[in-house]
C-alpha cells in the first residue's frame, strides 16, 4: 500500500499554489538563465574550439617588410637560427676587402706616381733643368710612358705582396672585432646565444592583407578601417554566419559583429577605399573573435575596425599597401602554455636571424596564444561564470531556507498530528521523507523546466549576448554536463541538504513533545519582560520576539535583495562613471609613443609643438600573489599585474611631481593604490616580465589618476633606474596634435577618443544586459520579500484568528502583525544599503583582482535612494497582499480544533 500521506502533497500544492508558483518561477528563472548561460557558453566554446581545426587557425603570424624569397621561406620552415654572426663576418669581410683593395690600389698608384716623379725630378736636376713647367711636362710624359709598367712591376714585388697581406689581415681582424662586439649586443638583445635553443620546424603560408578604409553608409567619409584578406585563403578561414563568401570581383564578406554594430546587412553596398562592393556574407574569422586592430589596443573596437574578405582578383586591385603577413603552423603542437611560450620565443629567434640573413625586415610577430583578437573573447566567455555560479548558489540557499522555514512552520502547526502519527507507529524516516518531498518536487520541477528553457530560450539569450559583443562562429548545441551539475545537481543537493538538516533536526523531538506542542529544545524559563507600554505596543513586541527566526531569514533576504539592487544599480553607474571620467584617464590630449627616441638617421626626434613634453615609460610586473583569487586563464601576464612606470619631466605640465625625489622613490596612481590597498611608505617589488630582474620602489605619495595601474618618477631617475642614456625618452605628451614627427617613428597615439571607445564598446556589449539584469534583480527581490512576509503571516494564522474572535478589527490586526514586520524591513533595508554597498565594494574588488587594470565601483546617491525605494515599494506592495491575507483568515482556524 502506498503511503496515504502522499495524497497530501498535491493538495498542499493546490492550496498554496501562489507560494509554490513564486518559488518555482524563481527557480525556473534562475536555473533557466544560469543553465542558459552555461549551455550558451559551452556551445560557444565548443564552436570556437572546433574552429581551430576546421578553419585552420594559425599558431602565429609574422609580417615582413617585403615579400620573402622561396629560399627564405624554406629556411624559416626549418625553424633553425641562421648564422647571423657568420653573415655579419662575411658581409664585413666583403666590405673590408673591397675597402682594403681600394686603399691599396690608391696607395700603390700614389707610390708609383711618386717614384716616377722623384725619378724625373732627379734627372732634371742632373740636367740642370729648373723650370717647373718643364719639369711637369717631363713628369707627365714619363707617367704616360712608364706608369702601367711601373705599376705592374711594383705589384709583383715581394715587398708589396707582404704589405697587402698585412693590410688584409689587419682589416679582417678589425672586422672580427667589430662583429664580435656588435654580435654581443644583438645576441644579448634577442638572446640569440641560448645554448638550449632547438629548431622549431613550421609550415608557413602567405596570408597577405591590406588595411583599407571602409565607408559603410556611402556618405563619402571613412567609418572604419577594414582589414581585407583573400577569400581563397586556406588558413585562418572564416565561418559564414549569414549569406555566402564573395564569388565576384565586386563582392565582399564582412565581419558579422562589425556589420551588425554599424548596421550593415547582406545585400547592402559598402565603399572600400572608394570602390563599391556588395556585401554577400557576414562571417567570423577564426583569428578575429574580437575586433582588435592591434594586439596592443586597449579594447577591441567593433565600430571602427572590421575584418573582411574579397576575391583574389578584387584583392589585387585594392589600392592600399600590401602587408606581407605570413601564418605559421608548428610541425609539432606545444603541449601546454609554458611550451607555447618557449616554442614561440624560440621561433622568434629563428625568424629574427633569418630575416637578417635574407636582408628582409621582421615588422611584426604574434603567436596566437598571445593574440587578443583570438583570446580576449575566449577568456571572457570562459571566465565570467564563477560569479554567476556563486550568485546562483546563494539564491538557491535562500530558497532552500525559505522552504525549510515554511516546512518548519508547518511542522509546528501540525505538531499534534505528527505526535499522533509517531505515537501510532509512523517512523521518523517516513515523516522526514514526507516533509522532504515538497521541496524536492518543487526543486525538481524548477530544475527540469529551468533546464529545458536553458537549452532553448535562455541559451539563445546568452548566445545573443555573446554575439552582441564578439565576432563568434555559429554556436553548436552541446550537451553540457558541467551546466547540469552546476544548475541542477548542486542546487538540488543544496536544497536537499539544507531541508534535510532542518527537518531532521525538527523531527528529532519525541512524539510526546509533539503531542504536547513542546517544540523548543530549551524551554524558556522566564517570559521576556516588557516595559509597561500600551497593550498594542507590547503585543507588537511579542509578535517580534515570537517570530525571531522568521525575521532572521527576512533580514537575510532583505540584505540579499539590497545587495542585488546595489549590484544592479552599481554596475550601470560604474560603467557610466567610467565613460564620464574618460577625459581624466589620459594624461594629455595626445600621448605619442615613439618607436625609439632617435630616428633612422640617429637624430633625436624633436617637435616644434610647444605644448609637447617628453616622457618615458616602461612596463614592469607586480606580483598579485597577495590575493587568493586564482586568475582566469587566457591572457599573457601570468599571475602578475602589468604596471606602467612613467618617467616625467621636471615641472611637468601634465603630471606634477614634487622636485628632488630621490632615486628609488615613486608616486603611485590612485588606481594602483585602490586596487592593491597601498599606502605611503610601502615598498613595491616590481620585476621585468621576461627577465629575471627586479626593482624596489618606495611609495612617496600618490598621483590622482584612475586610468591605469602606474607609478611615476622623474625622467632623470627613470633613466638611472633602467640604465638608459641621459636624454633618452619614450614619447611625447601634448595638448595639440603633433604634425612634425614622421609617422614611421610613432608607435601609437592615445587620445581621449581611444578611452571613450572602450566605454562605447562596453556599453554596446553589456549595457542592455545590465539593464535587464537590473529589473530581474528587482523582481527577484520583490519575490523574496513576498515569500518571507507570507511566512510570517502564515506562522501567526492561529493567533490572528484568535484575536479576530476576541473582537479586534482587521485594521488593528494588520497593525499588530504588519507594523513589526514593516519596522524590521525598513530598518534593515537602510542598514543593508550600507552593508550591501560595502559588500559590493568588496566583491567588486575581489573580482577586479582577478583581472588586469582598474575599474572603480561607483554608485550614484540617487541610485542608493532608488535601491532602497524599490525595495520598500516592493515591500509596501507585499504588505498590502499581507493585509488581504489577514482579512481572509477565517475565525474558525482557532475554533475548529482540527489539529
Amino acid at each position: 500500500m502506498r503511503n496515504p500521506l502522499v495524497k497530501r502533497i498535491p493538495k498542499e500544492l493546490a492550496s498554496d499554489w501562489h507560494k509554490y508558483l513564486v518559488i518555482i518561477l524563481f527557480m525556473v528563472g534562475m536555473i533557466g538563465v544560469i543553465s542558459g548561460m552555461y549551455v550558451g557558453r559551452d556551445s560557444m566554446i565548443a564552436a570556437i574550439k572546433a574552429g581551430k581545426e576546421e578553419l585552420n587557425l594559425e599558431d602565429g603570424c609574422f609580417e615582413l617588410s617585403h615579400k620573402a624569397s622561396d629560399e627564405m621561406l624554406d629556411s624559416i620552415c626549418t625553424g633553425g637560427m641562421a648564422d647571423v654572426k657568420q653573415y655579419f663576418i662575411d658581409e664585413g669581410m666583403k666590405e673590408a676587402d673591397e675597402k682594403v683593395e681600394e686603399e691599396i690600389e690608391k696607395e700603390l698608384r700614389s707610390t708609383v706616381e711618386e717614384a716616377i716623379e722623384d725619378g724625373v725630378r732627379a734627372q732634371c736636376e742632373a740636367y740642370g733643368i729648373t723650370d717647373e713647367a718643364m719639369i711637369q711636362e717631363q713628369i707627365k710624359t714619363a707617367m704616360d710612358e712608364n706608369f702601367d709598367s711601373a705599376l705592374d712591376e711594383a705589384r709583383d714585388s715581394d715587398e708589396f705582396k707582404k704589405a697587402v697581406n698585412e693590410a688584409y689581415e689587419e682589416a679582417h681582424k678589425e672586422v672580427l672585432k667589430a662583429v664580435d662586439e656588435e654580435w654581443e649586443d644583438i645576441a644579448e638583445e634577442y638572446k640569440l646565444n641560448d645554448p638550449g635553443f632547438s629548431p622549431v620546424p613550421v609550415k608557413v603560408f602567405e596570408h597577405f592583407y591590406r588595411n583599407e578604409s571602409e565607408d559603410n553608409n556611402n556618405d563619402g567619409t571613412e567609418d572604419a578601417t577594414v582589414r581585407i584578406f583573400k577569400s581563397d585563403s586556406t588558413v585562418d578561414m572564416a565561418s559564414v554566419i549569414v549569406g555566402r563568401v564573395p564569388e565576384n570581383k565586386n563582392e565582399i564578406a564582412l565581419d558579422r559583429n562589425h556589420a551588425e554594430t554599424v548596421g550593415v546587412s547582406v545585400g547592402d553596398n559598402v565603399r572600400i577605399s572608394g570602390k563599391e562592393f556588395e556585401v554577400t556574407g557576414l562571417v567570423s574569422f577564426v583569428n578575429y573573435l574580437t575586433m582588435h586592430e592591434s594586439n596592443t589596443d586597449l579594447m577591441f573596437d567593433a565600430f571602427g575596425f572590421d575584418v573582411a574578405m574579397v576575391t583574389p582578383e578584387a584583392f589585387d586591385e585594392l589600392p592600399s599597401r600590401l602587408h606581407y603577413n605570413y601564418s605559421f603552423f608548428y610541425e609539432s603542437e606545444p603541449a601546454d602554455k609554458a611550451a607555447q611560450k618557449d616554442t614561440s620565443e624560440a621561433f622568434l629567434k629563428a625568424l629574427i636571424t633569418q630575416s637578417v640573413v635574407y636582408d628582409n625586415e621582421l615588422k611584426d610577430y604574434l603567436p596566437t596564444y598571445l593574440s587578443q583578437a583570438r583570446n580576449f573573447a575566449i577568456s571572457d566567455i570562459d571566465g565570467d561564470s564563477t560569479g554567476t555560479g556563486i550568485f546562483c548558489y546563494i539564491l538557491i540557499a535562500v530558497i532552500a531556507f525559505i522552504f525549510a522555514i515554511t516546512i518548519s512552520n508547518t511542522i509546528d502547526k501540525e505538531a499534534s498530528v505528527i505526535g499522533t502519527l509517531r505515537a501510532s507507529g509512523y517512523s521518523k524516516g517516513e515523516l522526514i521523507v514526507h516533509y522532504m518531498s515538497m521541496p524536492f518536487i518543487v526543486t525538481i520541477a524548477g530544475a527540469v523546466i529551468g533546464n529545458a528553457l536553458g537549452y532553448t530560450a535562455f541559451r539563445g539569450m546568452a548566445v545573443n549576448l555573446y554575439y552582441n559583443t564578439y565576432s563568434l562562429p555559429t554556436p553548436r548545441l552541446v550537451w553540457s554536463p558541467s551546466a547540469l551539475v552546476k544548475t541542477t545537481v548542486i542546487p538540488l543537493l543544496l536544497m536537499f541538504l539544507i531541508n534535510l538538516f532542518i527537518i531532521v533536526k525538527k523531527l528529532q523531538l519525541s512524539p510526546l513533545k509533539f503531542l504536547r506542542h513542546d517544540l523548543t529544545k530549551s524551554r524558556r524559563t522566564k517570559a521576556r519582560r516588557i516595559p509597561a507600554w500600551s497593550f498594542l505596543r507590547r503585543f507588537r513586541i511579542r509578535v517580534l520576539f515570537q517570530n525571531m527566526p522568521n525575521y532572521a531569514v527576512l533580514i537575510f533576504g532583505v540584505i540579499l535583495s539590497e545587495l542585488m539592487l546595489c549590484f544592479a544599480f552599481g554596475l550601470t553607474d560604474s560603467l557610466v562613471n567610467y565613460g564620464d571620467k574618460a577625459p581624466e584617464m589620459v594624461f594629455a590630449e595626445y600621448q605619442y609613443m615613439l618607436m625609439g627616441y632617435k630616428d633612422k638617421d640617429g637624430n633625436v626626434i624633436e617637435t616644434d609643438e610647444n605644448t609637447a613634453e617628453r616622457f618615458s615609460c616602461h612596463s614592469l610586473m607586480y606580483p598579485k600573489q597577495k590575493s587568493d583569487f586564482s586568475r582566469f586563464e587566457g591572457m599573457g601576464s601570468g599571475g602578475d599585474e602589468s604596471i606602467t612606470v612613467y618617467g616625467i619631466a621636471d615641472n611637468s605640465q601634465y603630471i606634477s611631481l614634487p622636485a628632488d625625489v630621490p632615486e628609488g622613490s615613486v608616486f603611485a596612481s590612485t588606481a594602483f593604490r585602490d586596487k592593491f590597498y597601498l599606502k605611503e611608505g610601502d615598498v613595491l617589488s616590481l620585476h621585468e616580465e621576461y627577465e629575471n630582474k627586479s626593482y624596489e620602489f618606495t611609495i612617496k605619495g600618490f598621483v590622482d589618476y584612475d586610468g591605469g595601474i602606474a607609478v611615476f618618477m622623474s625622467n632623470e631617475n627613470f633613466n638611472k633606474t633602467f640604465d638608459k642614456k641621459s636624454g633618452e625618452f619614450s614619447g611625447y605628451f601634448s595638448r595639440n596634435e603633433i604634425t612634425d614627427i614622421d609617422e614611421q617613428d610613432i608607435a601609437t597615439v592615445i587620445t581621449v577618443e581611444d578611452i571613450s571607445k572602450v566605454t562605447t564598446q562596453l556599453m554596446h556589449s553589456v549595457g542592455g544586459f545590465i539593464e535587464i539584469f537590473k529589473y530581474a534583480m528587482i523582481i527577484l527581490a520583490a519575490a523574496l520579500i513576498y515569500l518571507l512576509a507570507k511566512i510570517i503571516i502564515e506562522r501567526n494564522e492561529h493567533s490572528i484568528s484568535m484575536v479576530k474572535i476576541l473582537g479586534f478589527k482587521n485594521g488593528e490586526i494588520g497593525s499588530l502583525y504588519i507594523i513589526p514586520t514593516a519596522i524590521v524591513v525598513v530598518l534593515f533595508t537602510l542598514i543593508s544599503l550600507v552593508v550591501g554597498y560595502f559588500l559590493m565594494l568588496w566583491i567588486f574588488h575581489a573580482f577586479l583582482l582577478q583581472m588586469d587594470g582598474y575599474f572603480a565601483f561607483y554608485m550614484k546617491p540617487l541610485s542608493m535612494v532608488l535601491s532602497v525605494l524599490y525595495l520598500l515599494v516592493g515591500y509596501a506592495f507585499v504588505s498590502m497582499i499581507d493585509f488581504f491575507r489577514i482579512k481572509k483568515i477565517p475565525m474558525d482556524v482557532a475554533l475548529k480544533n482540527v489539529e
Binding site: 521518523k428 512524539p511 489539529e899
Partner: protein
C-alpha cells in the same frame, strides 16, 4: 483470554528537578489481560496520561518496567519501539489530531497503511457511521464525527491494544456515549485490548477492569463482572 498480557511493574516517573520536582507515578503495579476493556480512572493531573504514554512507548519511566506479551519496552531501542507501536498499538486522544488536508477516508487510510493486518477501510467507515462523510475534510465535521475518524484511524490497524486518552473529554453527553459504544464495539468485534483513560467515574461500569489512580499509585484494581453496555451509561 491471555493472562498478564500487559504487565506494569513498579513504575516510577517524576518531572522537574529540585524544588520543582513532582513525582507523578510512584510505584505503579498492575496487569491487564488480553482482550480486556480496561479503564484507568483518576482525577485530572493524577498521572493517567503519563502512565498511558509510558505504556505506549512514547514516554519512558524513571524506574520499573512495562512488558507486553513478555517483551519489556525498556529493552527496545527507538526503532523497535516504533515497530512495536506500529504493529500493536492504536491511539485515540482527546484532541482528534486529524490531518487537515486529507478527507475522512484518507485519514483512516493513514492508519491502515501502518498495519500488516488492517481491517477493511470501507467497513470501518460503515461501522463508525461515517459513510455519508467519507469525502469530507476534518474542518467540515463536528467534534464527535472527528473523534469517530480518529477512532477509525486507530481501529483500522486492528491493533492488539487500543489506547484512548480521554476520548470523550471534549464531547457532549450524547456524543460521548456514541463514541464509547464504538470503542466497546471494537473490543467485542475485533478483540482488541482497550486501555482507556478517563476522569469520568460513570465510564467504569462498561469496563472489564477498572484501575483507580491517586497520588501516583494504584488505589483500586477491580474486575467488573457486571459490565453494562455503553448505551446504558448515565452521568
Amino acid at each position: 483470554m491471555a493472562e498478564n498480557f500487559l504487565e506494569i511493574k513498579d513504575l516510577m516517573k517524576s518531572f522537574g528537578t529540585g524544588e520543582a520536582k513532582q513525582e507523578v507515578l510512584r510505584g505503579m503495579n498492575f496487569t491487564v489481560n488480553k482482550g480486556e476493556f480496561c479503564v484507568l480512572l483518576g482525577p485530572s493531573g493524577s498521572g493517567k496520561s503519563t502512565l498511558l504514554n509510558i505504556i505506549g512507548g512514547i514516554d519512558t519511566p524513571d524506574s520499573g518496567f512495562v512488558s507486553i506479551n513478555g517483551d519489556k519496552l525498556e529493552d527496545m531501542d527507538e526503532k523497535q519501539l516504533t515497530i512495536y507501536r506500529r504493529k500493536h498499538l492504536g491511539y485515540v486522544f482527546q484532541m482528534y489530531n486529524l490531518i487537515p488536508n486529507l478527507n475522512v477516508k484518507e485519514n483512516i487510510e493513514v492508519g491502515a497503511y501502518l498495519s500488516d493486518k488492517p481491517l477493511d477501510v470501507e467497513e470501518v467507515i460503515t461501522t463508525l457511521g461515517l459513510q455519508d462523510h467519507k469525502y469530507k475534510y476534518p474542518n467540515q465535521l463536528s467534534g464527535g464525527q472527528q473523534q469517530r475518524v480518529s477512532i477509525g484511524r486507530a481501529v483500522v490497524k486492528n491493533p492488539d491494544i487500543l489506547m484512548c486518552d480521554e476520548p470523550t473529554g471534549a464531547l457532549d453527553y450524547k456524543t460521548s456515549k456514541e463514541i464509547l459504544a464504538l470503542i466497546e464495539d471494537c473490543n467485542k468485534k475485533y478483540g482488541s485490548t482497550i486501555i482507556m483513560v478517563t476522569h469520568n467515574e460513570a465510564i467504569k461500569y462498561m469496563a472489564d477492569h477498572v484501575i483507580k489512580l491517586r497520588d501516583g499509585i494504584v488505589r483500586h484494581n477491580d474486575i467488573n463482572d457486571k459490565k453494562i453496555p455503553a448505551s446504558e451509561l448515565e452521568w
